[in-house]
């Protein structure tokens, strides 16, 4: 654990020592019009990007060191085992319109955040039990926030809570972050300008941010984004596709970086919903651990990472990516590619492999369909590789690509599907962020959601462990619980994890102080330190 910290410290020192020039306008793309500018309602990548760049938070989770660092609060203390937190705030801070920041604003933000009418996804993470959240303002710069029950990972949650002003005439648009929203041309761009009241200074005492402005161009098409980057219209691209990464690398290797394995995982699962329309004999296959393990062993993940992702992905281990340094269970390894072992498992389970075809005990030929989202080339290629791999053990796979809404309808409403291949970006590293996936009663428990009681003993065990970790304030105990959940998920494979994608970014050599991280936002997590050589000219 010490080595990455040392590397990070060195990077910070190098950054500080670098005489970065102020000024200039940095340009990069967001994929869509933001759904909202409300800092407490981030819904998609675009609004989350704007909120990250404009919002001031009490403590920031450093995307490089993966440690929580002071921001608007100089210190904090978690009390009563995670039911209470006391923040000591910086003095003399101002919002972007000049309004003073104080403990009143923190209390106001918490009140808005926990307002049930707002339906803030950020606020949901703090809802640990019945009852109100109470704030005690001890002084203009000291505040206590008391929750009705223990909130796991309490301090880290404040990384996602931008402070609102209770007094500013600009209301939610008053910003404490390095930038504020200055201009919005619908469908075209959002211009963020330097917050003249931003509190942070660099090691030489110069006020941050270095940049004058950031222009967020709205562009969905990744190809056009790459062309504009090649032309010099844009200076950064986050989450590059591997083929575009390779192309840009061939033009100038210095402008692209593989920041290592990310928390973006691609996976496959079988429909185990009892009320679904799939035949009983197929459901029997899908609920069989041996069948799922055999399918998993028959998939060549290394080939998938090498071919589909041009080597910029790693065979996935399980529920947590190795990019999640603290929570990843290091005892686990990726499932090996072993079609012979897969066939042995299937034979033990009563399946027969003859003349290239696999049949079950009752003589049914093993055939199923995999649905995935159309026009996602990587997923279609992965499905085609799964199809080819499973053919070797006699399983016939039909790949069906559907538009996004049809896929969502099938996996969450009608359950009219057999297997599904999708990907997910885990932006919250804490196990609490995936409670909705692992609790059997939750709607996102995708293979068999909304169970009244756990269908299997291992799901009951996961439920118990997840609840135990959520109600504990002891991080190491929580880690033990979560490690065990990962082990159960590895053994049972309700999700067959395929690959963890690398974080691929493109950054123009003109951009200084960029240290891409594997975690989102990969390129601009240290936006206040980013600078442009010669002001971008």
């Amino acid at each position: 654990m010490k080595r990455p910290l040392l590397v990070y410290a060195a990077l910070v020192l190098v950054s500080a020592a670098m005489l970065a020039q102020s000024g200039g306008e940095l340009r990069f793309c967001i994929p869509s019009e933001p759904n909202t500018f409300n800092p407490l309602l981030p819904q998609e990548v675009s609004s989350a990007t704007i909120i990250y760049l404009t919002g001031g938070v009490l403590a920031r989770f450093n995307r490089f060191s993966q440690k929580l660092e002071p921001e608007l609060a100089t210190s904090w203390k978690v009390l009563d085992g995670g039911k209470k937190i006391r923040f000591q705030l910086r003095e003399g801070l101002h919002f972007s319109d000049g309004t003073l920041f104080s403990a009143d604003d923190v209390a106001y933000t918490m009140q808005k955040l926990m307002d049930p009418d707002l339906h803030s996804p950020t606020g949901d993470a703090f809802r640990s039990g019945e009852g109100k959240v109470v704030t005690n303002i001890l002084s203009p710069v000291t505040i206590e926030i008391i929750f009705p029950a223990v909130v796991a990972n309490l301090a880290n949650l404040f990384d996602t809570v931008p402070m609102l002003s209770s007094r500013s005439p600009q209301k939610d648009m008053a910003s404490l972050g390095p930038f504020y929203v200055a201009e919005h041309k619908a469908g075209t761009y959002i211009l963020l300008k330097r917050n003249p009241y931003y509190w942070k200074k660099d090691s030489s005492g110069k006020q941050l941010p270095y940049l004058d402005a950031i222009r967020l161009e709205i562009e969905l098409n990744k190809e056009i984004e790459a062309l504009r980057f090649s032309r010099g219209d844009l200076q950064m691209i986050t989450a590059l596709q591997p083929d575009i990464f390779e192309k840009l690398a061939s033009q100038n290797n210095a402008q692209v970086q593989d920041a290592g394995v990310s928390t973006y995982t691609e996976f496959l699962w079988f429909n185990q919903v009892p009320a679904s329309t799939i035949p009983a004999y197929k459901r029997a296959w899908f609920t069989s651990t041996a069948f799922r393990r055999a399918v998993s062993e028959a998939i060549n993940r290394a080939d998938m990472a090498r071919i589909v992702f041009h080597g910029h992905a790693q065979p996935a281990v399980g529920a947590v990516s190795p990019a999640n340094k603290f929570w990843f269970n290091t005892k686990l390894k990726p499932h090996p590619y072993d079609p012979d072992s897969a066939l042995r498992r299937l034979r033990q389970e009563g399946f027969h492999f003859d003349k290239g075809k696999l049949t079950d005990k009752s003589g049914n030929e093993v055939e199923f369909s995999i649905i995935t989202v159309a026009n996602n080339h990587a997923r279609e290629s992965m499905a085609a590789m799964v199809q080819q791999d499973l053919k070797k053990i006699g399983i016939k796979v039909n790949v069906v690509t559907l538009d996004f809404h049809a896929v969502i309808e099938r996996i969450s409403e009608t359950f009219n599907y057999e297997a599904c291949l999708l990907g997910l970006l885990y932006s919250d590293l804490d196990p609490n962020g995936v409670m909705n996936v692992w609790l059997s009663s939750e709607p996102d428990h995708q293979w068999n959601p909304k169970q009244k009681s756990p269908a299997t003993a291992w799901e009951a065990e996961i439920d118990r462990l997840m609840r135990a970790q959520a109600s504990s304030g002891d991080e190491h105990l929580r880690k033990q619980y979560w490690d065990r959940v990962q082990e159960i998920a590895w053994e049972q494979e309700p999700f067959i994890y395929l690959v963890d994608k690398d974080a691929l970014v493109a950054i123009s050599p003109k951009v200084k102080n960029a240290h891409p991280s594997a975690l989102h936002p990969q390129t601009f997590w240290n936006a206040e330190y980013l600078a442009l050589d010669n002001g971008g000219r």
Partner: protein
Amino acid sequence: MVLSITIGATLFANFLAPAGYEHQFRDSPNASPSNKHLLGTDDLGRDRFARLLYGSRVSLLLAPLAAALSTVLAAFVGGLAGYFGGWLERMALIVVDLFLSIPWIFLLISVRAVLPLNISPQSSVIVTFLLLGSLGWAASARIVCAGTRSLMKSDFVALARATGFSGSRLVRLHLLPNLRGILLAQFWISIPVFIITEANLGALGLGVSEPLPSLGSLLRELQNVVTLRPEPWRFIPLAVLVIVVSSFEILLNRSSNSFSEVRA
């Protein structure tokens, strides 16, 4: 001639192709053209030449079938409307207008979404083209209706009716022979339209299922504009599509001209 060679090559794909269209040469993905792979390999290592032959076969065999289906439907709806006229014609034209106003692609996406999942790639491609045929008759029906209406007002039809021709005899001996040119023209026009529509569906990833190729699914490689410049061989499926569609257009012009000559 060009069309014959293309169709011939696709029919003998089993002998001409160096490998199966689904075989993944995983050690050589995205390979450049070579003796082993004439047009290189795609990103999964599948032989592009084999996929082009099989993909063209799918499009060239099934597009005419879909065109035949749509022409039959158009002849039925348009013929009935033109023959009977009055409220039946008005109703039929309202249905035609409705079909013409529906965005095809979205309708196809919706219909595709409710189809059974466990169908083989071969069945899925047949279903796709059947859908194209059963949804693409409306424009042709309007033309057939106008042609039938015009024939019904002609002197020779009036004479035939006056001499006691039954409805079926009138259709068989006078209407169908005189509508033949229109129907043939609609048939030839529909073929390239369906090939291009399937290509559009393929470009959206909603056409033929993996691993079966079609001209549409092969064109998807062109979406990756960033990687195109150094790999011009990726344009070959597009060139084949242009050649095939142009050949059908030429055939259409020739058949129209010869029909006009016969009539004259």
